[in-house]
């Protein structure tokens, strides 16, 4: 959806992840970028260069916060100091929405710094949704939860991943950051049809999308964010855009990061698919592509 309650009624277009190797280029050349996504944890500090850079970026650009450590699915209660710092950053950036992952990653106060898959049970959905509501109420900002890539499935699961995502966001009444690359990666690792996933999530709750590259190994695919976006992911993105509408989209490129211009050009390829999706919405729906 172009603008909805889950992305603060904004229509941001195509953005880029703000990464250290590009700081100098961005600050000196001031390229024309619709918005930057920042990793919240990189700026939840007391001062120094990170906050100086952030303030200078905010003089020129809109930023949206994306987190990697709220761990909505962890059975642990949220850490108060973490939330206090996060809220201070929310106040600084005026982020129209805040995203983090539908996963767990900490136990008893010990952090894995990974995005671990959930057992897809109704109890886990309830626990997770309650935590999302609590965090949203504390931070006072709309929240979108992102589907993660995964390499394991659990016997305990009672539903598919997309049913679990839908259950959580309905219970929490929150938005979705739909990571199209993650859907593709998980579909290959677990053998489901990614178009089933896209067709069955609540489209009206999608506040943002992610696209990224991945790496194929012999027996599985890893979500590495170190490549351009691959064709099957672009096709999924086109389908997602047809189903959800043109939505704020961000390219993630986190490793082996090339020049700013190269990353930006890759992100702007999304425009082609957005245009196609706009045209397609005026015509009858095309047949659904088959899974790769």
């Amino acid at each position: 959806m172009p603008a909805n309650a889950f992305n603060g009624q904004t229509d941001y277009g195509i953005g880029l992840g703000l990464r250290v190797p590009h700081y100098v280029h961005i600050l000196e050349k001031k390229p024309d970028v619709a918005w930057f996504e920042i990793i919240s944890e990189n700026f939840m500090c007391g001062g120094g260069r990170p906050l100086e850079v952030l303030d200078r970026i905010m003089e020129q650009y809109r930023v949206v916060q994306h987190g990697v450590s709220l761990y909505f699915g962890s059975a642990d209660k949220p850490d108060r100091e973490h939330l206090r710092r996060l809220k201070a950053l929310v106040k600084r950036t005026h982020t129209p929405w805040l995203s983090d992952h539908l996963c767990w990653g900490s136990v008893d106060g010990t952090y894995t710094h990974d995005l671990l898959p959930m057992p897809y049970t109704f109890a886990a959905a309830r626990t997770t949704a309650a935590k999302i509501r609590m965090v949203r109420d504390f931070l006072e900002v709309p929240i979108c939860v992102e589907n993660v890539s995964s390499y394991a499935e659990f016997h305990a699961s009672e539903m598919t991943e997309w049913e679990f995502l839908s259950e959580v966001v309905e219970l929490a009444d929150c938005g979705i950051l739909l990571d199209v690359n993650n859907i593709y990666v998980s579909s290959r690792n677990h053998g489901f049809n990614p178009y089933d996933y896209l067709d069955h999530v609540p489209h009206h709750r999608v506040g943002q999308m992610h696209i990224a590259g991945h790496t194929k190994f012999e027996k599985y695919i890893l979500d590495t964010h170190d490549h351009p976006v691959l064709d099957p992911v672009w096709k999924l993105y086109a389908h997602a855009t047809r189903r959800c509408g043109v939505t704020a989209t961000l390219l993630e490129w986190d490793d082996r990061i090339p020049s700013f211009d190269e990353v930006h050009a890759e992100a702007l390829k999304a425009n082609e698919f957005i245009a196609d999706a706009k045209n397609a919405r005026k015509k009858p729906a095309p047949p659904r592509p088959r899974a790769a």
């Binding site: 939840m44 007391g46 260069r49 450590s69 010990t110 990974d114 671990l116 109704f122 016997h155 890893l222």
Partner: protein
Amino acid sequence: MRKTPGKNPPRRAPARPDSARALLAFQRLMHGALVRPLAPGDRMQSRWTDGRPMAEVVAEFIKPNDRLTSFDRLEIYNRMYWFRIIDSFYDDNPGLRAALGDRKFNRLALAYLAKHPSRSFTLRNLCVQLEAFIRREPRWTAPHTALALDLARFEWAQTVAFDEAAQPVLTAAEVGRADPARLRLDLQPYVTLLALRHPVDTYMLAVKKRDSLRSEASNATASARPAGRTRKVPRPRRERIWVAVHRVDNRLYYKRLEAPAFRILTALRAGRPLARAVAAAGRGVTPAQVQDWFALWMQLGWICRRK
């Protein structure tokens, strides 16, 4: 009291995590498995804590697929966990690595990370316990433990200087108006004072110079774990030094201090009134010297009001 991390994960996963409590038990088991140290060849350990085959334990809660066993699937996470935190440890401690050599440094990393997994939402704090760990378990750094301690403290001080908060600085006029017998000043939280037994400041510069030359020569980006042997930077000989690790305009600096100046700053940080802090400098220090030091510290923005 909180459960000690990494110890005694449950023996089995609950058949169905159908409550918040069961979810916690499920997560404790999986967490316990994926933070266990890797076996040789970067493989997951073949036995669980109770001696059962790991493949059997994992198969109880993780599904296999047509390409990977349950064991293989959990092993992906087990490996990613260790690679991630080891990389972070390498990134944070280039000087310690240069001083110990790759093999010893890697052993230290594994021993430290097994005892001190991350307790923070950010990996920035991963090495906060390293100095204490080296003191407690010197066998990992022997016979260079004194140097290793100096380097661990120095490298942590850089993390602090990079992004710790800054307080409003005090002006000379504000200090001048106050009664020195009662005035208590403080140092910026990002300034760390170190009394060291080795000149690790110059050593770190030599390590950085070597690494930048190597990077230019190979036209490679910086990597935490570069392949191949690297030219050794001679370890520094013992020499007492006093250093402040700080920042100016958000750039990191190290500043050597004279011993009396170090004592004054340490006393200020400890909360002594200005007059007593100055007296801590000891004999042989002239008022002009003290005045010059304060002028410089004020200029660097180190002095702030005590909260």
